[in-house]
């Protein structure tokens, strides 16, 4: 396996040259530092990217701890709507929704309605964490689908060319030209009504699959382009002479060289997936009630609470922006670390 275009390959060549010159005639060369380690060092030096990486990790951990918060701290479940109820705060009895139906705003009290209530009397903070799990899960699953299928198809199209390439490229162009949101809504609505196997109705997997599908062209194109260049290299001929089959070549020679491209795409796709989920849900084709996600919370807030209880829009919205922004900034840092000269760009 020869990694020619792995992360920071230019830096590796320089390091190799320096060591050679110094230890000429000395016998054994000391081990060089691998390209991945070099990239990791570069990434660590990028304080901003590391900071936002930790912010995102924090968001993930908080959302995973949603049950803890719900059961032990707030003592309220995310679906428990209590529109007519009251609770005591600092000794005073407060209404969850006041007499004209306006839900209470943020109380900044960790035990009761930290971020206030929504218009059905549910605790916004608890919902936020549970919703975060849904949104992040959808983002992760969608990214997985996009990366696996996009890479696979890209490699097949670029390596075999001919008929495969023509068919895959045409399919790719069809999906690519269709406006992303419209495609998402159409396929989402179809799956919501008809479903295929486990994907149907209100399952949160439906938007995940839809979003994953929509973003495949963004990965397919660059991967295919890179495979087209790679297959002309000598080491592919060498591998063939060694008797490797086509599939073996693709997996053991081409795939490792795509690794830095692939790694760079993951945060980009995930950020866009979370954003698209919010958009699709706002239009009614994404996560269906009563499932909570940041998208449903923002759309409920926009549709019901704009004049009176704007915190229902602000809180999930800011959370979503923080999460997506952290992924984006970390992804940028990752790209800079893996290849400081890279020109990889992906649409929104």
């Amino acid at each position: 396996m020869s990694v020619i275009s792995g992360p920071g390959s230019a830096a590796v060549e320089e390091v190799g040259g320096g060591f050679d010159a110094g230890f000429e005639g000395e016998g054994q060369l000391p081990p060089g530092i691998g390209p991945w380690k070099l990239a990791w060092r570069r990434l660590r030096r990028n304080r901003v990217a590391m900071f936002f990486g930790f912010v995102f990790l924090l968001v993930v951990v908080l959302c995973l701890l949603a049950p803890v918060y719900s059961q032990d701290i707030a003592h309220i479940s995310p679906d428990y709507g209590n529109p007519t109820g009251t609770f005591t705060l600092n000794g005073k009895t407060q209404f969850v929704l006041n007499t004209v139906g306006v839900p209470i705003g943020p109380t900044w009290n960790v035990n009761h309605f930290f971020f206030g209530a929504d218009d059905q009397g549910r605790d916004v903070a608890v919902r936020l964490l549970y919703g975060g799990r849904t949104s992040l899960m959808i983002g992760a699953v969608a990214t997985l689908i996009t990366m696996i299928i996009g890479t696979l198809l890209g490699i097949v199209a670029g390596f075999f060319r001919g008929w495969w390439d023509a068919i895959l490229r045409s399919a790719n162009d069809v999906v690519w030209t269709y406006p992303a949101v419209l495609l998402g809504i159409t396929v989402g609505t179809v799956l919501n009504i008809h479903g295929i196997g486990p994907l149907h109705g209100t399952s949160a997997l439906v938007p995940a699959v839809v979003i994953g599908f929509v973003y495949i062209p963004y990965v397919f194109r660059p991967v295919r382009g890179q495979v087209l260049t790679l297959r002309e290299r000598d080491f592919i001929d060498a591998a063939r002479q060694q008797g490797l089959s086509n599939w073996q070549i693709m997996i053991s020679e081409i795939l490792p060289n795509l690794s830095s491209t692939i790694v760079v795409f993951v945060p980009l796709i995930m950020a866009n997936a979370i954003l698209l989920e919010a958009g699709l849900t706002f239009l009614g084709a994404g996560v269906q009630p009563p499932n909570a996600s940041w998208g449903t919370m923002i759309s409920d807030g926009i549709n019901n609470d704009i004049p009176t209880a704007f915190h229902n829009v602000l809180v999930p919205g800011i959370m979503l922006v923080i999460a997506v922004m952290s992924i984006n900034i970390f992804g940028d840092g990752l790209r800079d670390a893996l290849d400081p000269r890279s020109k990889v760009r992906v649409g929104r």
């Binding site: 069809v174 919205g317 760009r345 929104r348």
Partner: protein, 316 residues
């Protein structure tokens, strides 16, 4: 040159046909029995009534004949939506002014602003101004447009009463109203693109700074500003224009669906969303084809422009 353009056009027409078939197929899956007869007949319809409706609308013909008929209708302007009984093209035409105003205004704003921001960020790379602009772009790219729209509506429209809360006023009716209603949607739609484009332009300019032709220009004695504007920018702007063409075309075809919905602009985007909700195949197909045509035409114009600006591309 001509062969280049013609070849692109033919490919795109083939693409449009496939897209329309895809949309049609999606709705065949969506509707029970593949046609809206059951929906049209109402809740208490008997199978006999459903059958009558099927025959009347031609649903009992084979699928490919239905598809061809639908396409013919769309292109001759005779397509009538089953659900709303309106002429589909008229509906689209009604939504066009709002969408066009939004698209063209936002398009110009985001193009000029991203060029400005991208250039400043590139010139002051690494310094304070660059960092600020990068942070702003990051926020812009990470914010869902309807969230930003909601914020604008709440603060600027509702609390401070500076602009109206939504809806669209045609230009012919009141230029002031038209402008007032469109400022917030323009800003909302542009934020996302500005964030993305300014970063693309910034790296494009920074890439070109190291090229030989820039060194030559400096060696010839041109000032930094002249080098930037007359040499660097001309090359760096090329990817921006291609991207702009594609995005602008998509917005025209209803890609700004989120912004239009939040601000109640009753444009093509909202029409698209409504038609999906109603399972209105024909309207959606017409809109998708419209977007496709817009993408083709504008994309072709932009490609020709770009090929004109950069002779290297013509040979590719």
């Amino acid at each position: 040159m001509l062969r280049f353009v013609v070849r692109r056009l033919l490919v795109m027409i083939a693409l449009l046909i496939v897209i329309s078939m895809f949309t049609f197929a999606m709705f065949v899956l969506l509707l029970p029995n593949g046609n809206p007869a059951a929906l049209l007949a109402g809740r208490l319809a008997t199978p006999a009534e459903i059958h009558l409706i099927s025959v009347r609308y031609g649903f009992d013909k084979p699928i490919y004949i239905q598809y061809i008929d639908t396409m013919k209708n769309i292109f001759t302007g005779q397509a009538y939506s089953y659900q709303s009984s309106f002429n589909v093209l008229d509906e689209i035409r009604r939504g066009m002014p709002a969408t066009l105003s939004l698209a063209i205004g936002a398009g110009i704003i985001w193009l000029l602003t991203s060029i400005l921001f991208g250039t400043i960020a590139a010139v002051k790379a690494g310094k304070y101004a660059d960092r600020v602009l990068t942070v702003l772009s990051m926020i812009g790219v990470s914010m869902p447009p309807f969230f930003f729209g909601a914020i604008l509506i709440y603060f600027v429209a509702y609390k401070w009463n500076v602009i109206p809360i939504g809806g669209y006023v045609p230009l012919t009716q009141s230029p002031g109203g038209w402008l007032g209603h469109l400022v917030a949607p323009w800003v909302t739609l542009s934020i996302l693109f500005i964030g993305f484009y300014s970063r693309v332009l910034r790296s494009s300019i920074l890439d070109s700074i190291n090229e030989d032709y820039v060194r030559t220009a400096r060696a010839k004695g041109l000032s930094e500003r002249q080098v930037l504007i007359r040499h660097s920018l001309r090359n760096s702007l090329i990817p921006i224009f291609s991207l702009w063409g594609l995005d602008f075309a998509q917005v025209i075809g209803g890609g700004a669906i989120l912004t239009e919905t939040v601000y109640n602009l009753h444009g093509v985007g909202e029409l698209a969303r409504d038609s999906i909700g109603r399972l209105d195949t024909i309207t959606l197909m017409a809109i998708v084809i419209l977007t496709g045509i817009a993408v083709v035409v504008i994309g072709a114009i932009v490609d020709v422009l770009v090929a004109y600006l950069d002779p290297r591309i013509r040979l590719a």
